[in-house]
Symmetry: C2
Subunit: 151 residues, 2 copies
């Protein structure tokens, strides 16, 4: 039998992002999905480097750099050089970003309810644990590919 997990994943990603951005806009938050994901990880840990954000979100480091740029311009984030290690850029939230948290989480929860409509708690848990397994596998595979390429 033919499986098409990757195809479905991409479909869901697209649908979900279009819907989520509409909900954010309707709530008065002008954020893209990518920006939202970066905020999401910074709300859990106030200070992160570009690389760490990349690892948390699975975005390429140059992508993070570009998106953070846009958010700095919008006054949502700040950059600073880490004095301990001058190669690193430390990204942190501004007051403006902190003020967005409540609304963002509301929208996030509504999105979640849409997403998991018709799922029991057990089903949700089972599904998420599958997602985590696949994600971890792919993180690991990409790691391998990178190591292999560098030889």
């Amino acid at each position: 039998m033919e499986t098409r997990g990757g195809f479905y994943i991409t479909q869901i990603k697209q649908l979900q992002e279009r819907i989520f951005e509409r909900l954010l806009l309707a709530a008065g938050l002008e954020l893209s999905g990518g920006q939202g994901r970066i905020l999401f990880v910074l709300w859990k840990e106030e200070q992160l480097t570009i690389g760490e954000i990349g690892r948390e979100t699975s975005l390429a480091k140059n992508t993070v750099s570009a998106v953070v740029d846009g958010m700095v311009r919008k006054g949502i984030l700040e950059r600073a050089i880490n004095p301990e290690n001058r190669r690193e850029t430390i990204v942190s939230l501004t007051e403006r970003a902190r003020g967005m948290r409540g609304k963002y989480e509301e929208v996030s929860q509504r999105m979640n309810e849409l997403f998991y409509q018709g799922f029991s708690g057990e089903e949700r848990d089972a599904f998420e644990s599958y997602l985590i397994r696949v994600r971890d596998t792919l993180v690991c595979e990409e790691e391998k590919i990178r190591a292999h390429t560098e030889l």
Copy 2:
């Protein structure tokens, strides 16, 4: 408990696409993930309109239009106006595209094996049926939003 299905989905999508494109490149196929998905649906049904491709892939119609453009330039696809309904553009495969199918499917299968590494057949089925449920929910929700907006 906090769920984050959407977050994981996006992570997986990014990882998967980066890995898949590398595999395609290594196999001598210069295709992006998005181009691959369009081929994938055209291999099942040789002639599709822009709108139908959008529905099958969950891409916005203007996105499909743009990606098809690139593929026409590369000699992979052809466009033609539907004489029955001159609003419609019929997209079809060229010989070049037909010649790519075998390799694409090989790579696809390898990708699938990576993706589902450690999954039993039952787990794969369970996971995919969850994915389909979520996708169908979101397709339906987007439909609702559109209907609502147009009033």
